[in-house]
Point group: C2
Chain length 83, copies 2
Protein backbone atom coordinates (compact mmCIF):
# COMPACT_ATOMS: atom_id res chain seq x y z
CA UNK A 1 0.00 0.00 0.00
CA UNK A 2 1.27 3.44 -0.94
CA UNK A 3 0.16 4.85 2.40
CA UNK A 4 2.43 2.44 4.26
CA UNK A 5 5.36 3.51 2.12
CA UNK A 6 4.83 7.18 2.84
CA UNK A 7 4.18 6.48 6.52
CA UNK A 8 7.44 4.54 6.73
CA UNK A 9 9.31 7.38 5.02
CA UNK A 10 7.76 10.06 7.20
CA UNK A 11 10.03 9.20 10.13
CA UNK A 12 13.48 10.80 10.20
CA UNK A 13 15.17 7.85 11.91
CA UNK A 14 13.85 5.48 9.28
CA UNK A 15 15.00 7.74 6.45
CA UNK A 16 18.48 7.81 7.99
CA UNK A 17 18.50 4.03 8.18
CA UNK A 18 17.71 3.87 4.47
CA UNK A 19 20.48 6.35 3.71
CA UNK A 20 22.95 4.21 5.62
CA UNK A 21 21.90 1.09 3.76
CA UNK A 22 22.64 2.78 0.43
CA UNK A 23 26.34 2.39 1.17
CA UNK A 24 26.28 -1.22 2.34
CA UNK A 25 24.24 -3.89 4.05
CA UNK A 26 24.30 -3.78 7.84
CA UNK A 27 23.33 -5.88 10.83
CA UNK A 28 20.59 -4.72 13.16
CA UNK A 29 23.22 -4.07 15.82
CA UNK A 30 25.38 -1.93 13.56
CA UNK A 31 22.35 0.12 12.59
CA UNK A 32 21.22 0.52 16.18
CA UNK A 33 24.62 1.76 17.31
CA UNK A 34 24.38 4.71 14.95
CA UNK A 35 21.49 6.07 16.97
CA UNK A 36 21.04 7.19 20.54
CA UNK A 37 17.82 5.22 20.98
CA UNK A 38 17.56 1.66 22.27
CA UNK A 39 18.00 -1.42 20.12
CA UNK A 40 14.37 -2.23 20.74
CA UNK A 41 13.28 1.02 19.16
CA UNK A 42 15.46 0.46 16.11
CA UNK A 43 14.12 -3.06 15.83
CA UNK A 44 10.64 -1.56 15.73
CA UNK A 45 11.65 0.85 12.96
CA UNK A 46 13.24 -1.99 11.01
CA UNK A 47 10.01 -3.94 11.19
CA UNK A 48 8.09 -1.01 9.74
CA UNK A 49 10.63 -0.70 6.92
CA UNK A 50 10.36 -4.42 6.30
CA UNK A 51 6.55 -4.32 6.26
CA UNK A 52 6.73 -1.49 3.74
CA UNK A 53 9.12 -3.59 1.64
CA UNK A 54 11.70 -0.83 1.76
CA UNK A 55 14.33 -3.18 3.19
CA UNK A 56 14.82 -6.92 3.27
CA UNK A 57 16.38 -9.05 5.96
CA UNK A 58 18.47 -12.16 5.99
CA UNK A 59 19.62 -14.16 8.97
CA UNK A 60 23.33 -14.98 9.18
CA UNK A 61 24.20 -16.77 12.39
CA UNK A 62 23.28 -14.50 15.27
CA UNK A 63 22.96 -11.51 13.01
CA UNK A 64 20.08 -10.13 11.02
CA UNK A 65 21.49 -8.42 7.99
CA UNK A 66 19.45 -5.68 6.43
CA UNK A 67 19.68 -4.44 2.87
CA UNK A 68 17.93 -1.85 0.76
CA UNK A 69 15.04 -2.89 -1.45
CA UNK A 70 14.80 -0.57 -4.41
CA UNK A 71 11.65 -1.86 -6.11
CA UNK A 72 9.27 0.13 -3.93
CA UNK A 73 11.20 3.31 -4.63
CA UNK A 74 10.44 2.77 -8.28
CA UNK A 75 6.73 2.46 -7.54
CA UNK A 76 6.96 5.70 -5.62
CA UNK A 77 8.73 7.41 -8.49
CA UNK A 78 6.04 6.21 -10.86
CA UNK A 79 3.39 7.76 -8.63
CA UNK A 80 5.26 11.03 -8.22
CA UNK A 81 5.90 11.49 -11.90
CA UNK A 82 2.18 12.04 -12.40
CA UNK A 83 2.49 15.41 -10.73
Amino acid sequence: MLGDTFKALSDETRREILMMLRKSDMTAGEIAESFSTTHATISHHLKILRDANLVSMERHGQNNIYSLNTTVFQDLLAWLVNF
Copy 2:
Protein backbone atom coordinates in the same frame (compact mmCIF):
# COMPACT_ATOMS: atom_id res chain seq x y z
CA MET B 1 10.96 19.65 5.98
CA LEU B 2 10.97 16.34 4.14
CA GLY B 3 9.22 14.63 7.03
CA ASP B 4 6.26 16.96 6.72
CA THR B 5 6.00 16.18 3.04
CA PHE B 6 5.91 12.44 3.61
CA LYS B 7 3.53 12.82 6.53
CA ALA B 8 1.19 14.85 4.36
CA LEU B 9 1.35 12.24 1.61
CA SER B 10 0.80 9.33 3.98
CA ASP B 11 -2.91 10.04 4.23
CA GLU B 12 -5.17 8.57 1.53
CA THR B 13 -7.65 11.44 1.61
CA ARG B 14 -4.90 13.97 1.10
CA ARG B 15 -3.43 12.00 -1.79
CA GLU B 16 -6.86 11.94 -3.42
CA ILE B 17 -7.15 15.70 -3.02
CA LEU B 18 -3.84 16.14 -4.81
CA MET B 19 -4.98 13.82 -7.60
CA MET B 20 -8.13 15.90 -8.06
CA LEU B 21 -6.14 19.12 -8.22
CA ARG B 22 -4.05 17.75 -11.07
CA LYS B 23 -7.05 18.22 -13.37
CA SER B 24 -8.02 21.72 -12.24
CA ASP B 25 -8.05 24.16 -9.36
CA MET B 26 -10.96 23.72 -6.95
CA THR B 27 -12.65 25.53 -4.11
CA ALA B 28 -12.57 24.06 -0.62
CA GLY B 29 -16.27 23.30 -0.93
CA GLU B 30 -15.91 21.45 -4.22
CA ILE B 31 -13.12 19.37 -2.74
CA ALA B 32 -15.08 18.63 0.42
CA GLU B 33 -18.13 17.43 -1.52
CA SER B 34 -16.08 14.69 -3.11
CA PHE B 35 -15.65 13.04 0.27
CA SER B 36 -18.03 11.62 2.84
CA THR B 37 -16.33 13.40 5.72
CA THR B 38 -17.25 16.84 7.04
CA HIS B 39 -16.03 20.10 5.58
CA ALA B 40 -14.14 20.73 8.80
CA THR B 41 -12.13 17.57 8.30
CA ILE B 42 -11.27 18.46 4.73
CA SER B 43 -10.30 21.94 5.85
CA HIS B 44 -7.90 20.32 8.29
CA HIS B 45 -6.40 18.19 5.52
CA LEU B 46 -6.05 21.24 3.31
CA LYS B 47 -4.16 23.03 6.04
CA ILE B 48 -1.70 20.16 6.28
CA LEU B 49 -1.22 20.18 2.51
CA ARG B 50 -0.69 23.94 2.64
CA ASP B 51 1.83 23.69 5.48
CA ALA B 52 3.71 21.08 3.47
CA ASN B 53 3.67 23.42 0.47
CA LEU B 54 1.97 20.79 -1.64
CA VAL B 55 -0.90 23.12 -2.49
CA SER B 56 -1.42 26.84 -2.49
CA MET B 57 -4.56 28.81 -1.75
CA GLU B 58 -6.06 32.01 -3.05
CA ARG B 59 -9.14 33.80 -1.81
CA HIS B 60 -11.76 34.73 -4.42
CA GLY B 61 -14.81 36.27 -2.84
CA GLN B 62 -16.30 33.74 -0.48
CA ASN B 63 -14.27 30.91 -1.94
CA ASN B 64 -10.83 29.61 -1.16
CA ILE B 65 -9.41 28.24 -4.35
CA TYR B 66 -6.79 25.53 -4.06
CA SER B 67 -4.21 24.62 -6.64
CA LEU B 68 -1.39 22.14 -6.91
CA ASN B 69 2.13 23.23 -6.05
CA THR B 70 4.60 21.15 -7.99
CA THR B 71 7.90 22.43 -6.62
CA VAL B 72 7.89 20.18 -3.57
CA PHE B 73 7.26 17.16 -5.74
CA GLN B 74 10.48 17.96 -7.52
CA ASP B 75 12.37 18.07 -4.21
CA LEU B 76 10.87 14.70 -3.40
CA LEU B 77 11.93 13.29 -6.74
CA ALA B 78 15.44 14.57 -6.15
CA TRP B 79 15.55 12.75 -2.83
CA LEU B 80 14.13 9.53 -4.23
CA VAL B 81 16.50 9.39 -7.14
CA ASN B 82 19.34 8.75 -4.71
CA PHE B 83 18.00 5.27 -4.12
